[in-house]
């Protein structure tokens, strides 16, 4: 019997599982409890016809433990005074139109939701709901129930601006097209019949009609070109809008003069054609930019910044950072973002302030030091009192900084622009010379020749060559779950020759489980676990999650918590000092030796000052696609190595399993940095793939940094590329696409230069009519844009 694929997601059903769902009287096989739960809730809600409507399988669902979902944070963020609330959501996992049907039907049933509509094109939903009846977290969990992910997002100013821009483009193109059509119609008639046999009154009439239709094109459609050209001229840095505007205005006023005097040539059709094609090229460029913005937006708005605030009863609860008031006391875990400008009242730590100050060295903080909101706490837990909120606080300064960074042109755009400036001066010079030469030698159509020269040499294609390729590559990658935050990273990536991986959370899933517990001291197992769990509450290290999964009912108060970056932590419980962490950390702090070589997993050791109490063996699951990816990288001639802070035997075990030959274990963050620098010293370009707090400096140091799902905020902040999916084969895709992108950029530049240089002499010799020049220039830009667009449709590898 051939095996039936999972009814929900279409993936093969593993052996020895029997998840089944009844659909239309038949029992269908399911691959995992996640898919089963989703399919059940779809069918139970009377939405079974989803399965007959859909044209593609749904993404596989994983059961997410409720404890890991922090939807409640969003409720805090969305407290409104009014009853009816409108919220925008980003929905993940939509594969076909039936998904949208399913979501709309399912959500409309939720009491309090008055409307739920999804935009097919953008995959975004807008919800109108009654805040007294339904909470945002309930809406989110309803979406999750049928197998999708939803994140609220704030339809920010930028998005509004882009929407306005898009509507502006469509309106301008429509006016240019409708009017241009009329002008072309008249002009083609004149071309075909010739002007000789025509009634002069009719000819004059037709010219005035053409003029009438060109005016709106000039005043409305071409306005952005004039505005940009004016801005450029004021700064004495002419971009490509200057020759464009000169061409349009020159052609129009020369035609107007001919019309008024009723003699000579008119170029109304050239004006219209020029504007139409230019707008088209700009609109396509705008669309690629729009995709790029929409993809980066997801990251920045996915989750609100929260803080652990002490309430009246002395307990800490999660609140929204923006609701903090002066003198509130907050707990800041290691690895977390500092929610507001505050003053340390207990504990000491080190803080990474590079986002604010650009300084990569961690800054030590003790009682009384000022913490800057938005910087990262990287060493140990501290308690702090909020000292500044609102407009003056550093956090709002950061938002402004981020906005500015978004608005600023990246280096490669600036490079292209600088090039264009030189080019534009050249064009104006050549056009001037052509005109002067024609005038002096009394060439009859000197004006139309110089107009052609001006238009045909416009460096639009040249300045579009690089940015369009980057934006197209970024949006193609985004659709595969990869977010590129720095376009130029792709360029470097293509020429990289060594890839360094972190182990925990990068090659492995980072979802740690305690598989064994060996008791060595006088404590029993549950006591040891309780102590370990309480200590790990204060750590954001991936290994700590193994202890956090079960929320222990008995919470012991911990004091004097100290966090040793990446190695372990210590604290006092019931007057007894405990240490929890890696082998080397324990050996240093308790002065005993521990034998862990026989263990396969990562050992986490609990000790007091004198003796080892317990060894927890923690196992981690290798991410999907890792061995294939490593094999692919090695076969394509790249160096691969593994740097880990874990102990030798577990690193060796993993390296063997995935096929990495070069690996180092027991490294501190500083050692990792040294190793990376020693590889870079030989002149190789290094890509670093990592996730944890301790990887942040290494990620920042590498030529290209990639962070993976579940990476800490600190790691995300310092990386160029974010991988959102779980499949590590995405790294392969990024590499493949980066070399294709480089190839496309080279093609674009070659084509643009070839066109501009080739067309110039022909135009100077007077073989090109102005409207043909307009067509040529626009087609060359379109070729570049469409060539870049190919990146979006490349086959998945």
């Amino acid at each position: 019997m051939t095996k039936e694929p999972c009814f929900h997601c279409g993936l093969p059903v593993p052996d020895n599982t029997h998840f089944r769902v009844d659909f239309a009287g038949q029992s269908k096989a399911m691959c995992c409890p996640g898919c089963e739960a989703v399919a059940m809730s779809i069918i139970e809600n009377g939405l079974a016809s989803f399965y007959t409507k859909r044209t593609a399988f749904s993404p596989q669902m994983e059961l997410v433990p409720d404890a890991l979902i922090n939807d409640k944070d969003y409720d805090l963020a969305s407290e409104h005074s009014s009853e009816t609330v409108e919220t925008s959501l980003i929905i993940d996992g939509i594969t076909c139109s039936a998904c949208i049907w399913l979501l709309e039907k399912h959500l409309a049933k939720l009491p309090g939701v008055s409307s739920f509509t999804i935009n097919y094109a953008t995959r975004r939903a807008s919800v109108k709901s009654d805040s007294t009846q339904v909470k945002l977290s309930q809406i989110l969990s309803a979406v999750r129930e049928v197998g999708y992910q939803a994140y609220p997002y704030d339809e920010g100013k930028q998005q509004e601006q882009l929407n306005k821009e898009r509507k502006g483009f469509i309106s301008k193109m429509a006016v240019a097209l409708f009017c241009g059509m009329q002008v072309m119609m008249i002009t083609i008639g004149l071309y075909l019949s010739g002007t000789e046999g025509m009634d002069p009154v009719m000819l004059e009439f037709l010219r005035w009609v053409s003029c009438f239709f060109t005016v709106p094109v000039l005043l409305f459609s071409a306005k952005p070109f004039f505005q940009a050209a004016w801005r450029d001229l004021k700064q004495l840095r002419p971009g490509m809008d200057v020759p464009v505007s000169l061409g349009i205005l020159g052609a129009f006023f020369a035609s107007l003069l001919s019309t008024v005097l009723n003699e000579g040539e008119t170029y109304y059709e050239s004006v219209c054609m020029f504007v139409i094609f230019l707008l088209l090229a700009r609109y396509i460029e705008f669309l690629t930019r729009l995709y790029a913005v929409q993809s980066s937006e997801r990251i920045s708005q996915a989750s609100p910044v929260t803080a652990l605030q002490r309430n009246g009863k002395g307990q800490f609860e999660t609140v929204l950072a923006s609701t903090l008031k002066i003198a509130d006391v907050v707990q800041i875990n290691a690895g977390a973002v500092i929610p507001a400008d505050s003053c340390v009242i207990s504990g000491k730590t080190a803080v990474d302030e590079s986002i604010l100050t650009g300084e990569n060295e961690p800054v030590a903080k003790a009682v009384g030091s000022l913490l800057l909101g938005g910087s990262h706490n990287i060493e140990s837990v501290v308690f702090a009192q909020v000292s500044c909120v609102g407009e003056q606080s550093t956090l709002s300064t950061i938002t402004r900084l981020v906005d500015r960074a978004h608005a600023e042109k990246p280096a490669w755009v600036q490079r292209a622009d600088r090039f264009a400036v030189v080019f534009v001066w050249g064009i104006i010079l050549v056009t001037g010379l052509t005109a002067w030469h024609g005038w002096v030698n009394e060439v009859a159509d000197w004006f139309s020749i110089s107009l052609s020269v001006l238009v045909v040499t416009c460096p639009c294609a040249l300045s579009l060559a690089t940015p369009t390729a980057y934006t197209a590559a970024m949006s193609a990658l985004f659709e595969r779950g990869v977010v590129v935050t720095q376009g130029s990273a792709l360029e470097v990536l293509a020429s990289s020759d060594h890839i360094v991986f972190d182990k925990t959370g990068t090659l492995t899933e980072g979802s740690m489980r305690i598989v064994a517990c060996t008791i060595l001291g006088q404590l029993n197992e549950s006591q040891a676990r309780d102590i370990a769990e309480c200590l790990e509450q204060y750590s954001d290290h991936p290994i700590a999650n193994a202890f956090k999964q079960k929320s222990s009912a008995s919470k012991l108060p911990v004091s004097n918590i100290e966090y040793k970056n990446g190695a372990g932590l210590s604290g006092v419980i019931d007057g007894q000092q405990y240490y929890l962490g890696s082998k080397s950390f324990i050996e240093k702090s308790s002065g005993t030796t521990v034998d862990v070589l026989s263990l396969k997993g990562t050992p986490v050791i609990l000790s007091n000052e004198r003796e080892v109490l317990a060894i927890f063996e923690i196992h981690d699951v290798v991410r999907t696609g890792v061995p294939e990816m490593i094999e692919h990288l090695l076969s394509s001639g790249k160096g691969v190595s593994l740097l880990s802070g874990d102990h030798f035997s577990s690193v060796q075990w993993l390296a063997k399993k995935v096929g990495i030959e070069q690996y180092w274990s027991d490294l501190s963050p500083l050692d990792k940095l040294d190793k990376l620098e020693s590889i870079q010293a030989t002149g190789t370009k290094v890509v670093m793939v990592g996730d944890g707090v301790n990887d942040a400096p290494v990620l920042a140091k590498a030529d290209v940094s990639i962070s993976v799902t579940g990476a800490s905020q600190l790691a995300r902040a310092s990386s160029d590329i974010l991988i959102l999916g779980d499949d590590m084969k995405n790294i392969q895709q990024v590499l493949a696409l980066s070399s294709t992108t480089n190839a496309i950029i080279r093609q674009n530049l070659c084509w643009a230069l070839l066109y501009n240089i080739g067309a110039l002499p022909i135009a100077i010799m007077g073989y090109i009519e102005p409207w043909q020049a307009a067509l040529g220039m626009s087609v060359s830009s379109l070729v570049v844009v469409l060539n870049s667009f190919r990146l979006r449709f490349l086959r998945r590898r």
Partner: protein
């Protein structure tokens, strides 16, 4: 040929009207979702009975 003196202004008028309508359509968001309505028309008939009832009630 004299008819052109009448026909061309008429076409000009038509263009003005068409542009006006098109700009209205863009501004009122008719082009915001170009794929959705094509699918939505197929979904409508499968409204289940209770929901239909609810909609009728709300119309009253």
């Amino acid at each position: 040929m004299d008819s052109l003196y009448f026909l061309i202004p008429v076409s000009a008028l038509l263009v003005v009207v068409i542009i006006y309508i098109f700009l209205w359509a863009v501004r009122s968001g008719q082009f915001d979702d170009l794929e959705g309505p094509a699918h939505r028309i197929l979904d409508e008939e499968e409204l289940d009975v209770t929901q239909q009832q609810a909609e009728e009630d709300s119309e009253k």
